[in-house]
């Protein structure tokens, strides 16, 4: 990545105005994944001085500033209690502490990285993103929009006692996932699959099916089969499409059994 200029802005307004000035200006979170891209950036805009690294606990929600590091989230006790702690589980498996002290939750979301272990659990949690100009949207809405020329301020996660399951299949703990699966069960079951190797997605058709069936072994097998056969998978250096399809079937079954037991 080439960076022409680097600015630590003092306000969100300043950052937003700078972002609009040139299409090659870019907001940086922690910058942990910059080496994964080969963009030419005219001005890199750092939000470090904008007080977006706070976690605020309310009665029903956690409001997480977009510049909060993954390590700070991993150590947050309240987050460990939400949806079976799947977000903390996902984060604690991302490389080492020295990277989790750099990477931010905002950068991990806005980057829409195909290898992300963050987007998959967030898709099955009750969470809302708040942007400076575009306002609030769910993470699913965000992932289905084109690139926003806006600034992510906060992520609000609703507290819940839902059961949760997360698994990231990796060759080593320092590697990116070959596939990852997240499931929550409250009143309904939500299922997301990521690192396919395309960006994480909710499995809406399979969710519609299982949420209208009595959950038993047959329904679990059929749900896993629907996801593994109908979802788009791909091949890359880490794994083949066939391998991903096969192990997704296994981990969907395991996850559904765990959250429905």
């Amino acid at each position: 990545m080439n960076i022409g200029n680097y600015v630590k802005v003092k306000s969100i307004e300043e950052a937003y105005n700078l972002l609009q000035e040139d299409k090659d200006n870019l907001i940086v979170g922690g910058g942990a994944w910059l080496k994964q891209t080969n963009k030419n950036v005219k001005t890199m805009i750092d939000l470090e001085r904008c007080n977006l690294n706070q976690i605020t606990e309310n009665k029903d929600t956690l409001v997480i500033g977009s510049m909060t590091t993954l390590r700070d989230l991993e150590c947050n006790k309240s987050l460990k209690e939400i949806d079976g702690g799947i977000l903390v589980k996902a984060i604690s498996g991302i490389m080492g502490v020295s990277i989790r002290n750099i990477a931010t939750i905002g950068g991990s979301i806005v980057g829409r990285y195909s290898f992300s272990d963050i987007l998959t659990p967030l898709l099955v949690m009750d969470c809302t993103l708040e942007f400076f100009k575009d306002g609030s949207m769910t993470i699913q809405e965000f992932l289905s929009t084109k690139k926003l020329n806006d600034i992510l301020l906060n992520i609000t996660i609703k507290k819940s006692n839902n059961k949760g399951y997360f698994y990231a299949m990796k060759k080593t703990s320092l590697d990116f996932a070959v596939i990852n699966v997240a499931i929550t069960k409250g009143k309904t079951i939500s299922i997301a699959v990521g690192a396919r190797p395309s960006v994480a997605a909710l499995q809406t058709e399979a969710m519609d099916y299982i949420n209208n069936e009595q959950v038993n072994t047959e329904a679990i097998d059929k749900t896993a089969s629907m996801i593994s056969s109908q979802t788009k998978f791909g091949s890359n250096a880490k794994a083949s499409e066939e391998y991903r399809r096969s192990i997704t079937n296994t981990y969907i079954k395991r996850g559904l059994k765990e959250v429905t037991s």
Binding site: I3, G4, Y6, M44, E48, V97, S98, I99, N101, I102
Partner: protein
């Protein structure tokens, strides 16, 4: 661009490219204890402390470091020597290439969780690879270091 860096409580006024990483800046300024290994945030030998937290300097832009307190192993020399004594006692040391980064990470663990158990030590050190000794003797030495009240 010019940045002012606080490295081991000394102020350095350095000229860097906006896309220069802290690892290269430190090495260009004679902090050779900070090693260049994988250069892709996997091996951990480039670890330094930023505000007493371990970070992979190969992945951290120098421009970002301005306004923060950077610590290399030279800045915690007495703690590194204490850990080194325990490492020596356990035979947990061979080539020494990963030692500075390991000492910094263990020191950060001591600040964050001085009562860390073996499992917590293992989890904290996932990002610090050692290809000489295996990890068992290191973990024993680190447990002894954390338990050492001297």
């Amino acid at each position: 661009m010019r940045v002012i860096l606080d490295i081991n409580n000394q102020i350095f006024n350095v000229d860097v490219s906006p896309n220069e990483y802290l690892l290269d800046t430190l090495r260009n300024n004679h902090f050779k204890s900070v090693k260049k290994g994988c250069d892709s945030s996997s091996c951990g030998v480039c670890t330094v402390l930023v505000d007493n937290k371990p970070i992979a300097s190969c992945t951290y832009l120098t421009a970002k470091a301005e306004g923060h307190k950077i610590t290399t192993v030279e800045g915690i020399i007495s703690e590194a020597e204490k850990l080194g004594k325990h490492m020596g006692d356990e035979g947990a040391d061979q080539c020494g290439y990963c030692n500075p980064s390991l000492a910094l990470t263990v020191y950060a663990l001591k600040l964050e969780n001085p009562e860390a158990n073996t499992q917590q030590i293992r989890e904290y050190l996932v990002g610090n690879l050692c290809r000489c000794t295996g990890y068992q003797s290191q973990h024993t030495a680190i447990r002894d270091y954390l338990g050492d009240k001297k």
